[in-house]
């Protein structure tokens, strides 16, 4: 079962072309990301098994499931880290199944990982500049560092201000605490300005008092009306507060897909994921 969730306001554009410019006009009510019969086996075990899902412009969808359900592998298939054994991935109507990670990123797929994946030897602003220059592709100067160009530096600093890290721009990343690193990952995502954001447990490892700020950042990301946000999250209060739609994966298959209320009430979900009937 696939349940689409309307995005609300009209989107500005669908996916970027290879050089990062807009490609196509508004596509109200259309699917931005379309996954058909996606499957992959790792080490002889089927991890994702025939998943078909569609995501409309403007949707914020939580993907939940017990450990080993195939959530992160599903993200790996979307971002191009893994090639599927079968199935297709379409972004804005274009088949991107055969494309690698950089090509998918340039078309507007961005990702935040479950574990910090930043460049610890670089400074905070250098990390952001790396994301900014990737969008420029061949247009970026080979020689001049983006963080030394006034216009690019201003854009990088704007991203850092959004995540409240502007004061740490010159700090090396290895000197940052965990919470600040998670925020920096969001700043990289803001710099990429993707049309599809894959957030793999963005609040993982954060102190309780830091979580609301991260949720605000996710909400900010969602302000762009044409963007699709897919969120893997174990904290159900976070899922309930953000998601318009919840997909439950179990043993690599879609167990349930619908509004938070309908999914929470599903007997299958309670049996497999929540461990019993609701109180």
């Amino acid at each position: 079962m696939t349940v689409g969730v309307g995005g609300g306001s009209a989107p500005s554009h669908a996916a970027r072309g290879p050089q990062g410019g807009p490609q196509g006009g508004p596509q109200v009510g259309t699917d931005l990301l379309d996954v058909r019969d996606l499957a992959v086996s790792l080490g002889g075990q089927v991890v994702v098994d025939g998943v078909s899902l569609a995501f409309q412009h403007g949707s914020l969808v939580a993907i939940v499931g017990p450990n080993g359900a195939g959530k992160t592998t599903f993200f790996n298939l979307l971002s191009g880290q893994l090639r599927p054994d079968r199935g297709t991935v379409h972004l804005a109507g274009v088949d991107i199944t055969a494309l690698g990670m950089p090509e998918r990123a340039q078309r507007g797929l961005g990702r935040v990982f479950q574990m910090n994946q930043l460049f610890s030897a670089l400074t905070v602003i250098e990390n952001v500049a790396l994301a900014l220059t990737a969008r420029q592709g061949r247009a970026a100067s080979l020689w001049q560092r983006a963080d030394r160009r006034p216009d690019m530096r201003a854009r990088g600093m704007a991203c850092l201000e959004q995540v409240q890290l502007a004061g740490l721009a010159s700090q090396p990343v290895h000197a940052l605490p965990h919470g600040a690193r998670r925020k920096l990952e969001m700043a990289l995502l803001l710099a990429q300005d993707p049309v599809v954001c894959l957030l793999d447990e963005p609040t993982a490892g954060m102190a309780v008092e830091e979580v609301p700020a991260m949720l605000d950042l996710v909400a900010q990301l969602h302000q762009r009306a044409d963007r699709v946000i897919l969120l893997i999250e174990h904290k159900m209060d976070v899922v309930r507060s953000l998601a318009q739609r919840i997909i439950v994966l179990h043993q690599g298959r879609v167990l349930a897909d619908g509004s938070p209320g309908s999914v929470m009430d599903s007997a299958d979900v309670q049996a497999v994921y929540l461990g019993g009937p609701p109180a």
Binding site: A105, A121, L122, L130, T133, A134, S170
Partner: protein, 331 residues
Amino acid sequence: MRTLLPGPHHRLLSLVLLAGLLSMGVKTWLVLTLSGLAMGSMLFLMASGMTLAFGLLRVLNLAHGALISLGAFAGATWWVVRAQALPDTVWGQWLALLPAMLLAMSVAGLVGAVFERLVIRPVYGNYLKQMLVTVGGAIILTQLLQGFWGASPIAVPRPDLLRGSLVLPQSVPWVGGLALEKFRLLTALFGLGVYALVIHALERTRWGVVIRAGVEDREMVEMLGHRMAPVFLAVFTLGAMLAGLGGMFWGLYQEVITAHMGDELLILVIVVIILGGLGSVRGCFYGALLAGLVNLYVGYLLPALASVAVVGLMMAVLMWRPRGLIPVADT
């Protein structure tokens, strides 16, 4: 933000220099230090490409030694053949030397680029296959050199402008009248210049930032949208060019070249990149200087231990800092 406090590499270099100074006379120390720095510069040229290739591509290219030999032969070919036809003046000798350097870099770089595309690229991520194919490549390249040039050592006379010494005035205290060999002085300065250029490129250009980020996490750089395949090719080619240049200088240093010279140097090159920290260009530079100095100091003080001194230094450093002098994440 880079700290201004001396790092472990500065402290170790100071310690080695001080130990040398306390163990011999000032004049001997100065001559050996200059020779050690010259040797270190050549080792840096030869090793920097290999450490970058390992850091970014995770490729342990055991054919790197053959690229060193190739550069030496390419440079020597020009030098030996064309130098005779040019006027025997300082300018004439520069006209012979500079194209020799360019030829060494071009030939090694071109072969390196083809090697990356045809041999290395299909085995990215598989260390065992990398070792097998790069050893195979090394054998083929060495045999081709031997087939073309023969198995006997070939004399490479150093040009006159690189012969002779710079004599310090007698008025200079302690070291007045000391003769410093021109070639070693120039080689040390040249190595320092190349190091400064490479560091500038790595730290002050967009490509450099991409390379440094890729050394740390290649997949994440691609996830941001940077295509790494052209970067890999460029880095591998640049590394091969530097290997060729280093080989040419080594040939002039020894004044003799053989097809197997690269194989013999490869052990020293591997020791230098492990000592400095795999993947770290800055570490490679300090590792090369330390290897050059220790080799010369120990060779003078305890000749019997000269051949194992650099390996001993590497073991001591790894016991102190298991990831090398300057691990990649600290650069």
